[in-house]
Amino acid sequence: MDLDSGTSSTVGARVQAIPGRPAQHGALYQFKQQNLPACKPVLTPATVIATFLLMGFIFIPLGLITLRASNSVVEIVDRYDIECIPEELRSNKLLYITDDSISKNCSRFLKVPKSMRAPIYIYYQLDNYYQNHRRYVKSRNDKQLLHGLGDNSTSSCKPLESSGDLPIVPCGLIAWSVFNDTFKFSSGSSELKVNRKNIAWKSDRNHKFGKDVYPFNFQNGPLIGGGKLDPNTPLSDQEDLIVWMRTAALPSFRKLYGRIEEDLDADDVIVVQLMNNYNAYSFGGKKKLVLSTSSWLGGKNDFFGVASLFIGTFCMMISIVFLLLHVKNPRPYGDAMYTSWNKKSSSS
């Protein structure tokens, strides 16, 4: 407690900070007097009803449009991981997939339900595959992918860091486990050409994977997780790898394999010759092949359309309910009798 403010007369001197009345409309004055111009939105029944109505009017058409886009997409999904195992080996899937001597060749016949317009996108889908696991996500080295060996530390690639003295290029779990099933398509007698270029995002190709980085010592270790890479192709051209390395968000994901650039007619039967190399059996994963056309919104996605349709309809309904309530049993708007103190006194 310091009593240095002397006498009562200094109380006045202390507060010279307050000047006379400042300009009444200065922003600072308004701020200090808490008088800033403001709009005061009041949620009246009319606003509530109108807002819901408006939302209904926006989202019902939006839902319809997107649903239509989604419906225009033709999608063929074929799960092949079980079917491709020979009957006798189905009880021991692991043996099948780990034994190199067993042929992994497999044929699938897909019937086209509706005519499909080119381009038809080929995806492989993996379920129960945790590409988003923490250990997995961080097991890569972006510097190495772009610049090659150099003197980069590859410690982030653990546990697949190096082979011998040299770091593996590309190192890390993600690259190591690259997907290596292959698909060949034919319709009738003619083979369907699969365009496997330009399946990765351009930014990945151009800026994340180096043009002169070659996977010279890839998959040389005792354990082989997935596919091998052509040591003579630079990483920027290994689009399979690039696609694979853009890790998926959820344990079920699709990755683009290629494009068929021919139209398919309804009821065509497509023969898929596939090499069932990739081990999804040990962890109970599923492998699916997806053929899909595309709309302006992308692939088949009913969820979005249904969701907007639902929200739109719900808004409409609520607005109608509110409207009915408002008409039948309106609350006197801004009636002082509804304040708690008036209620109390009137109820007694």
């Binding site: 009562s8 507060v15 403001a38 997995y136 494009r259 040990s282 609520i318 007694s348």
Partner: protein, 1117 residues
Amino acid sequence: MVSSSSSFASAPEFIISNNEVDNEIDILSKIQSNNSKLPNWGRRVRLALQTAKEIDTLHSSTPPVIHRDIKSANVLIDRNFNARLAEVQCEQPNNSLYTFTGNLILQNQTLPVSPNQLLLRGCSLRNTEYIVGVVIFTGHETKVMMNAMNVPSKRSTLERKLDKLILTLFATLFVMCFIGAVGSAVFVNKKYFYLHLESSEEGGAQFDPRNRFLVFLLTMFTLITLYSTIIPISLYVSIEMIKFIQSTQFINKDLHMYHLETNTPALARTSNLNEELGQVEYIFSDKTGTLTRNLMEFFKCSIGGEVYGTGVTEIERGIAERSGKKIEENISSNAVREKGFNFDDPRLMRGAWRNEPNPDNCKEFFRCLAICHTVLPEGDESPEKIKYQAASPDEAALVIAAKNFGFFFYRFKQLHCFLLRTPTMIYVRESHVEKMGKIQDVPYEILNVLEFNSTRKRQSVVCRYPDGRLVLYCKGADTVIYERLADGNNDIKKVTREHLEQFGSSGLRTLCLAYKELHPDVYESWNEKFIQAKSSLRDRERKLDEVAELIEHDLILIGSTAIEDKLQEGVPACIETLKRAGIKIWVLTGDKIETAINIGYACNLINNEMKQFIISSETDAIREVEERGDQIEIARFMKEEVKKELKSCLEEAQSYFSSLSGPKLALVIDGKCLMYALDPSLRVMLLNLSLNCHAVVCCRVSPLQKAQVNLFLKAIKDWWCLDFNYGALQVTSLVKKGAQKITLSIGDGANDVSMIQAAHVGVGISGLEGMQAVMASDFAIAQFRYLADLLLVHGRWSYLRICKVVTYFFYKNLTFTLTQFWFTFQAGFSGQRFYDDWFQSLYNVIFTALPVIIVGLFDKDVSASLSKKYPELYMEGIRNVFFKWRVVAIWAFFSLYQSLIFYYFVSSSSLSGKNSAGKTFGLWDVSTMAFTCVVVTVNLRLLMICNSITRWHYISVGGSILAWFIFIFLYSGISTPYDRQENMYFVIYVLMSTLYFYLTLLLVPVAALFCDFIYQGVQRWFFPYDYQIIQEMHRHDDTDTSRAHLLEIGNNLTPAEARSHAISQLPREISKHTGFAFDSPGYESFFAAQLGVFAPTKAWDVARRASMKSRPKIGHK
């Protein structure tokens, strides 16, 4: 104890010399500065020798005293230029500010040192150029520091509740982490070959399925860091910032709380308690200086049985109005009107008193006013320019009155004299004494001052007229003066007694004046005793009182004065407003019960519609017991009586508040009864009764009891602590009601300090009583009426704003963290971040920080004028409507809902191709999209809680969203040369190249806010808050109408009208009692200190330093 030479702290405490201490001593440095008196070289050598000799004496004493600071300023010399060694004996350091006992021993003479010679730490030098003194206490041993030990630090109730919320969040955090960690321990399995879980490399233990417990532990820690965003760390910083601006910019700068006359704005001394102001339920108010102006004005007087003064007090006017009489007020045009003097009577003014029937009485009356006081004149010695420094405004008013009657006290002088019986001179310019128009300066020699204290209730002065006559003048409370009057003259006594009662019932403060001629022999013998008492080391105060008792008898009554203490402007209206706001008001006053009731009526605290419970000790039964004089018996009887009264009142009160329409209740209790009612066995009953009363008036409260009320305050703070001695049933009902009540104390004087510190919120009136209350307070305002602004406007807004800020913070962090939590389930419980590190860190700091602060500063539900027009709105704060667990639960529900929407709506996009080229999104694309949705939604949600949206809201909300986009454009646009993952590279551009992103950005926020909107609509429609109805009622009001303008709408009545309205409701019974004692807080604090109650000093306590004005000298060697 030899005068210490220890180090000089920056603010030590001194004893200084005054007239009673040797005036021949001087110090060398002063003489040196005074060139004319420079000692010659011979003297200097002698001085040096003497100094050396005295130092030798010091050093050779046992134990040796080492003087560490020998310089000329520290050499004490007497008039003959001899260096001297002095010794100071004094008490040990203690915290009693108003006592000090010590002796200065010099040349074998013992001089008493009393509090009058003590200069407390922090005092500033006035009225004199320098002071010579001896340091007695330094640093933490100073009295002021020892008093300043326990300043309570206050935190607002809301903040304490916030702590609980944070604890709940911590619990939630641990639950979430536990779930995640268990999940992780179950998940890890070597079958996920692509994860290499069983590899034995460094750091691989985190997911090693061979040791699942370790996996559990490590994942637990990972998840704690991952989910730590659920704890709103930035909340405290933001709240501090908001509160700081609220207090420094809004409260301190509010022109509605700025008092132009004294140039005093409101002052928030702490920024901790802004929102506490919005929840106050009990106000404890001091009366003098708080409800009243403490601007004492000499209003009436009674001299020799004749009433003078034509003024009419407001209370009188009210009484007259009720009885239908009209009071003619004839204010003569030439009436003297100045501060402290509101008196006009042609019979007395301008010497006209000479023609009155008893001019001698008048003369003595005026002289008594001019002489018997401890006032100091300051400034020019002309009647217009002089200023009086007085310990209490009453005294100043009396001296000013004397001045206006022609007895102008213009100079006060203390002579240097070695002797103890130093005369102090008071110079009075007397007009019209000998004959009309003659002005003469008369010096009166003041021989003794018998000071005022609360036990004596009187003050006397022994003075010697120029012609040698010795007269004792005495003024004091009527009871003590009447006891000491000489026999005879019963007529005047009786008439004056009637006048006193009349004054008292008009709400005036009265004092009786008396005098006595002293025979020189009688005086001399008495004076010796007096000196003895004065220099005694032990029990000095008591001995002085006893000595004073010896001479203060056989007095002759001159008359009485009546001083008006006006109600402050706007007090009745303010109290009315506060009452409507559901605030219960306690007034603590030293007045008598009738006066207190009158004041209660005058300031609208009580009206005739209220049911009054009066618990008084002035009943016949009690008086009867009291007359028998057995203390134990009195105490027992009083306790019984109080118990009986309390019980009956309580029963009656309960019958009232069981019926809803019952009248409001008021309790009037006097100090004595309060003392007994505060007894632990009765306290619960008192509490129960008083908490249900809308107004409580405690009268006859001594400062000590004011301090006791603190206990009571604390009791209100913690209801349930009081359950002892009470029926179990009652206890549960008490506990049920147990929501903490928030109390506010308001006062202006030093005696209110403890009360101010004890309450949740302390408000000081920065008024005439000085700074003590302000120093102890949390908020200081210039006028009581600003309390309405402080509570109803600033407090309510702060409360609303802080509630919004807290709940919003809770919401936004919970929402954000929950999305992360849902992701954990789909990422194998691995603790993978859904969002990039930078997103997570900047979420609270940049993308959602500013808008909520803007809301904390600008949000207003209804304008300030409406807040005051509908004080009932304040009750929402008292009931803590906006920060209940229910409110938090609703927010939690919506954040749960929203986080599910964010996560599942956005992650559903990850499966199929998302552009016309069939390419799919990866983890970082999805998370960036989700984060964008979260930022947009959370910011939009903020706009939904705003009641008023200024341009700054738009700027900050828009700015925050924009900041996110700018950030992500830059962040994903560059790739750094550092060795890190470039996950985010180009992500936003990839997203923006798809239509899907834009549609999601439209759909997800709408879907997320959809439920909130329904909730708000339904709540407003069917369960509107009060403020919402007021908003609706005044929706079309001109928003630009300034508060000042609307203020009048607020109370339709002008303050004057409101007051007269209040006065017209005064009770019908007429008081039979005289009014006020000499009720000055300054004295009360003195009294309190004597009783060992903490009551800090006032640095400018003038009475204390009345004697300091001369050129005191003391030194130390």
